[in-house]
Amino acid sequence: MAEDGKEESVASSCDGSDRTEPDGSLNHTVPGDGSSLLRRMEICVAEAERRSGKNAVGMQETFTVYLIETRLLESVDGRNPPPDSLWRRYSEFELLRNYLIVTYPFIVMPPLPEKRAEFVWHKLSADNMDPDFVERRRVGLENFLLRVASHPVLSNDKILYHFLTKEHGWKEMVYETEFQAKADSRLRALNATFRVRSPNKPLMETKHYSDELQSHTSQLLRARTRVADRLYAVYKVHGNYGRVFSEWSAIEKEMGDGLQSAGHHMDAYAASIDDILEEEEHYADQLKEYLFYAEALRAVCRKHELTQFELEMASQDLVSKKQQREELATGIVRTFSFKGMTNKLFGQEAPEQREARLNLLEELIAEGEEAVKDKTAECEEYVERAWADVLRFKDQKDKDLQEALINYAHMQISMCKKGIQIWSNARECFLKM
């Protein structure tokens, strides 16, 4: 299990330049497990483009497509294989993810970047067509693919492979798996309320944790937005100093030059906040990824609850059938039943009828026992696989978020340095007044 936790650390770079991994960790060689797709293939989402076309109902629409580039890492016949590429829409990524969720419900599924811009501080565009938003989305989509392709389980999936390599006909392939039907029933089941008598404790604790994670990350994102708005205002108001220093310098003799140049530095100070906040969006994106991850984590726990519930229902059913058989066999009625009542009221039935009913019950009981056995196995297997991925996820989360916090601290330091530089420059000008 430990090695699983290291799988997603292979670097990927399509333009040859060094890039840190989504979780920021370094490359570890993993003994034994060579099945990760990412070890065999470079993947990146290189570009985004606007397209126009007719949609399903014949209406003209504009949408963005993203270029996925892949390149096999093994050389074939001594030559490096050429890169391959295809274009995909956001909706196709969604389709892929939905398929993966249904097919691997025990995996904490890497999330897609947000569909619409949320937690936007007021100067940031909330427009889906905005180039900055598109760029951030491109990065998020690449991140998604890298996470999926380096996952010990997900990376082996054929549909994923074809998503990356087969531009046409992929959608049909996905629909052919008939995952849609499973998706609908899963959704319904997960939204239902049901009580589970003996859930798996660690998974239940994990569910509580996922609620906390979701709450904290969304609180943090909201608070950060408000802070960004205020900080923006503080910086921009300083720009007014630039204007008044300039006007004031016009009526001064010796002080004029110093004031004028200081004014320029005040303008620079006011302008500097734009880049600072732009960079901070990257941090916000990292938080958002884990906000959505929290949802995915919760879904894994809920699915366990559902499975466990189904098992409990099946066990319950088996128990009651066995009881019925006992009553039928011994004639003793332990629990209230209509059959028992009618027997009392109208007399016992004929031995042949009883025989028939007993046989039917035996069949049902046999089926039921089979069902319970299957369901138990299913449950146990689910818990085992889910717990493995939960542990992998926790490790990844701790590493990623620690890295994110370090990067955030670096951003703050760089902001401070910029501030010191500008005010020192202004100070020089004031001294010359």
Partner: protein, 447 residues
């Protein structure tokens, strides 16, 4: 980093090398104890400005009363912008040092008020003792200023901090308010003490030395200039201002405007900073609460929360400094400008009287060959004195203003730099902690 300027912004009373004072050394002035009418004031007036033609520019020739030869020599040696020379003059020749400090609250049945200690050190012969220490309240400073204005109407009297504060809005006894007011009173007194003419005013002497300031009994030493200027009737038609005084007036108007704008901007910044601070505190709290539900991430998250808190503290300090040191100086200069405009107006009236009388006299003496009547000559003297005093004070005021604002703005820059340095230090130490933790985690993994 280097400590920024001491909290009390330098008035001309502090011993800084870049300090400027009136060009004339005090030694020169000791010969003339009081601001007498013609000779000493006109000698002091021929300095500064560098203008050779101190006469009125409306063409009327003016005879200067004889300036003392010694001062003329000093005039030529004097260079307007040579601040270092001024400073050297100053440190060699200043002989009156005043300080305002040690505020104390007094509670009586009638009222509650604050007094300040006024300490004086001097070698001047006008003072009986070399040292004095008295207690004065704001009212006393107000009295002094009024007396100075009355007795030295041709000079620019430095302003006092605002007299009235709205009860219930501002706490008159809060530490911050008292401190701010005290600094302004200190600056006022220092400016007066450094003024070559005002510092010899007997009212100042009384203020600095008397055990009990008897304010009701006005001192009988009203000067002739004082009397005569007060007696200017308002009935004379105002004449066009000479160019240099026009320029002064325009400058004062524009400068006052700019100061107002600066004040508004500074206040706006304070407001925005305060709102930013509120949000920042909440932001830090979220990190703390998140840390509670994490294991491995608990330390990093707490670390970030701690950094944010440190930055909040640094910001609070910076904002406090702004409102305590920066804004009061701006406001004080606005008051200064108001009183200067008043002096300009009085000057205009003096000129009006002179020219009015002169015209009348000329009309009357058409055939007569008698010289210009004495009152007209006196008026001429008055105008010349006034103009000269004003010009000298103007130059001094400009130099002080330049120093004050250079110091003010440099101080503002220093505070900002200081703030960012504190924040940077906090985040840098956090990174060290987090990166140590990372290597810790990695080594424990591979083991």
């Amino acid at each position: 980093m280097s400590v920024s300027a001491p909290r009390g912004l330098a008035s001309s009373g502090q011993k800084l090398i870049t300090e400027i004072l009136h060009p004339l050394s005090a030694a020169e002035e000791q010969l003339s104890p009081g601001p007498d009418v013609s000779s000493s004031s006109s000698s002091s007036s021929s300095v500064g400005g560098g203008k050779q033609e101190p006469g009125l520019t409306n063409g009327t020739p003016v005879e200067m009363s004889n300036p003392a030869p010694a001062s003329q020599l000093l005039n030529r040696l004097q260079l307007d912008d040579d601040l270092d020379a001024d400073a050297q003059d100053l440190t060699e020749t200043r002989d009156l040092f005043v300080t305002v400090d040690d505020p104390k609250k007094h509670v009586s049945t009638m009222e509650t008020y604050i007094t300040y200690r006024v300490s004086t050190k001097t070698t001047r012969i006008e003072f009986d003792l070399p040292e004095y220490s008295v207690r004065r309240r704001y009212q006393d400073f107000d009295w002094l200023r009024t007396k100075l204005e009355d007795s030295q109407p041709t000079h620019l009297i430095p302003p006092l901090p605002e007299k009235f504060v709205m009860k219930g809005v501002v706490d008159r006894f809060s530490e911050d308010f008292v401190e701010t007011r005290m600094k302004a009173l200190d600056k006022f007194l220092k400016r007066v003490a450094d003024h070559p003419v005002l510092s010899f005013n007997p009212h100042l002497n009384a203020f600095l030395t008397a055990k009990d300031l008897n304010k009701r009994q006005g001192l009988a030493l009203l000067t002739k200039v004082g009397e005569s200027v007060k007696q200017v009737a308002g009935g004379y038609k105002l004449r066009p201002r000479p160019v240099e005084f026009c320029a002064m007036g325009e400058y004062l108007d524009t400068f006052s405007q700019k100061l107002g704008t600066l004040d508004r901007i500074a206040q706006r910044i304070l407001k925005e900073q305060s709102e930013y601070l509120t949000e920042l505190r909440e932001y830090g709290a979220v990190y703390s609460s998140w840390a509670g539900s994490e294991e491995q991430l608990q330390r990093p998250l707490e670390g970030v929360a701690g950094c944010v808190t440190t930055c909040c503290g640094a910001l609070e300090d910076a904002s406090e400094n702004m409102s305590q040191d920066f804004l009061p100086v701006l406001r004080e200069y606005v008051l200064y400008i108001e009183s200067m405009k008043n002096v300009l107006r009085k000057r205009d009236q003096t000129q009006a009287e002179y020219e009015g009388r002169l015209e009348a006299a000329i009309l009357h003496k058409q055939e007569d060959r008698t010289p210009i009547p004495v009152e007209v000559e006196r008026c001429q003297d008055k105008v010349e004195c006034f103009n000269a005093d004003l010009k000298a004070d103007w130059e001094r005021w400009q130099r002080n203003k330049r120093q004050d604002f250079k110091q003010l703005l440099t101080g503002m820059a220093d505070k900002n730099i200081n703030y960012y340095e504190k924040c940077q230090a906090a985040w840098e130490s956090l990174i060290t902690v987090l990166q140590d933790k990372q290597t810790e985690d990695k080594t424990s993994e591979t083991n």
